[in-house]
Amino acid sequence: MNPYISVENLSVKYGNDQVLHDVNFQTDKGEFIAIVGKSGSGKTSFLNALANLIPFSGTVKLPGAIGVIFQQYAVYPWLTVAENIEFGLNKVPASERKNIVEKHLQLSHMADKKDKYPAELSGGQVQRVALARCMANNPELLLMDEPYGALDSYTRDKMQEWLLEVWSAMRKTIIFVTHNIEEAIFLADRVLVLEEGKFVQDIKVPFARPRKAEIKFTPEFNELRKQISTFLN
C-alpha cells in the first residue's frame, strides 16, 4: 500500500547553510507524528518545506489540502475570532459558511468569544482559534509548529488533552513539531528525532488511546522519555 504522505531526499539550504540533508519520511492516513529535536536541528524548516512555504529540493507527496499552525502570529489580530475561523472558507456558500464557523466555535469552546479580537484572548485561546481556523478548512494534513511552546505548563497540558479530543473526533493526519519530549510522547503515535537535518530515530509510542494525563507519571512513560532524551543528547 502506498504511504499517505511520502517525502524523499528532502533538502533545504539557506545560502550556504544546509539545514535538511536528504530527509526521507512516510506516514499513514490519520497518524499523529511528533518531531523532536534541538534548536536549529531543522524541525521548522521541515514543516515549512512540506507546506511549500520555502524552497527545497527532493520529492514531497501530500494528500491534498493542508493546514499549518505556527507558534507566533497564529491568527490575524485585525479579525475577530469568528472572522479568523471564516477566513479560509472562500468557496463555501455563505449559509454553509455560518454553520461551519458555528461548529468550530463550539468545538474550540470559543462560542462566547466569537466577537473578541485575539488581543483580548489568552495564549491558549489564541491557539484554539488557530486550530479551529485550520479545521474549518477541512485539511487532510495538519502541520503544527510548536503551537504550545509559549504557553505555561498548566495551559499546555489542557491544550494537549483538548487537541487529542479534536484529533480523535476528526482523525486528521498531524505532524507536530515540539522540543518538549513529554508532549511528543503524550500526543503522538510515532516520535521522530531530528538531528542536524536528518531523522536519526523513529520511535513507536506504545500507549493505548484515549490517553489521559496520568500516563505521564507511569514508569513506561518515563522510560520512553529517558530513551528519547538520550538520543537528543
Binding site: L53, Y76, P77, W78, F87, G88, A119, E120
Partner: protein, 250 residues
C-alpha cells in the same frame, strides 16, 4: 484632577497671561494684540464671511489629503511588497522625497495657475510622501507568517491585499496619514498665500497687507484649531472603523 481639566486650565492661564501682558503696555499692543482684541476682530471676520474661506480651504485640504493618501497607500503597498515595483518606482520617489513641498509651488502656479486644481495638486504632492514611506515600510515589515497564512488559506490576490497586507500595514499607514494631515495644513496655507482669491491663507495675506495683526492671529488660531480637530477626528474615525487598532500603539 483629570488630564482634560489640567489642559483647559493651562490654556486659560496662558490666555489670561497674554491678555495681561498685552494690556499692561509692556509690549506694543498693535504688534501683540490682546486675546479680547483678537476675538473681536474674529467676530468681525465671521460677520464678513470668513466661514466661506474656511469651507473653501478645508475642501481643498480634504481633496488633496484624500488624493495624496490613496495614491501614497496604493504605491506604498506596491513598492513594499513587490521588488520589481520597488526597483522601478522607489528611485524616483526617493529623489523627489527630500524636496520641500513648498518649493514646488512656484512651478505649480506656472503649470496649473492659481485655481483649485493647483492647490489640490500641491497638497496631494506633500501628503503623498509621508503616506508612501510609512506604507512602504509597514508593508515590508509584515511578519512572513501572516503572508504565509494568507497564501495557505486563499488564492485570491485581492483578498490577500485587502484582508492581510493592508490591515497588517495599517498602524504604519495611520502614522503616515497623520503626518500628511499636518503637511496638508501647511500646504493649503502656503498655496493660498502664494495666490488665491478666497481661503484662510488668502485672508491672512490680506490682513498682513492691511497690517491687521489681530485678524492674522485669529486666522492662524483658526488654522491651528482646524488642524488639531482634523487630526482628532481622523483618530476617532480610525478607531471606529478599525477597532482592533486600540490594542496597538499608534
Amino acid at each position: 484632577m483629570s488630564k482634560k481639566a489640567t489642559g483647559v486650565i493651562v490654556v486659560v492661564a496662558i490666555i489670561l497671561l497674554w491678555e495681561a501682558v498685552s494690556l499692561s503696555g509692556v509690549v506694543n499692543n498693535s504688534l501683540f494684540p490682546a486675546p479680547s482684541q483678537v476675538a473681536a476682530a474674529g467676530w468681525q471676520l465671521l460677520l464678513s464671511g470668513v466661514v466661506k474661506d474656511i469651507a473653501v480651504s478645508m475642501s481643498r485640504l480634504l481633496v488633496g489629503l484624500i488624493v495624496g493618501t490613496v495614491i501614497g497607500i496604493a504605491i506604498g503597498l506596491l513598492t513594499g511588497r513587490s521588488k520589481t515595483a520597488a526597483g522601478i518606482l522607489s528611485p524616483i520617489i526617493q529623489l523627489l522625497r527630500p524636496l520641500p513641498p513648498v518649493a514646488i509651488i512656484p512651478l505649480i502656479i506656472v503649470w496649473f495657475g492659481i485655481g483649485n486644481g493647483a492647490k489640490v495638486f500641491s497638497i496631494a504632492f506633500a501628503v503623498f510622501f509621508p503616506v508612501w514611506i510609512n506604507t512602504h515600510i509597514g508593508s515590508k515589515m509584515i511578519p512572513k507568517i501572516y503572508i504565509w497564512t494568507g497564501r495557505l488559506l486563499t488564492k485570491s490576490w485581492f483578498k490577500k491585499a485587502t484582508k492581510v497586507i493592508f490591515p497588517a500595514s495599517l498602524p504604519f499607514i495611520v502614522v503616515g496619514v497623520r503626518s500628511g494631515i499636518a503637511l496638508a495644513f501647511i500646504m493649503v496655507f502656503v498655496s493660498e498665500l502664494a495666490g488665491a482669491s478666497i481661503g484662510l491663507g488668502y485672508r491672512i495675506s490680506i490682513a498682513h497687507l492691511a497690517y491687521r495683526i489681530d485678524e492674522m492671529i485669529f486666522a492662524l488660531a483658526l488654522l491651528a484649531i482646524l488642524g488639531a480637530l482634523t487630526d482628532y477626528l481622523f483618530s476617532v474615525a480610525v478607531r471606529r472603523i478599525f477597532p482592533w487598532l486600540k490594542f496597538k500603539t499608534i
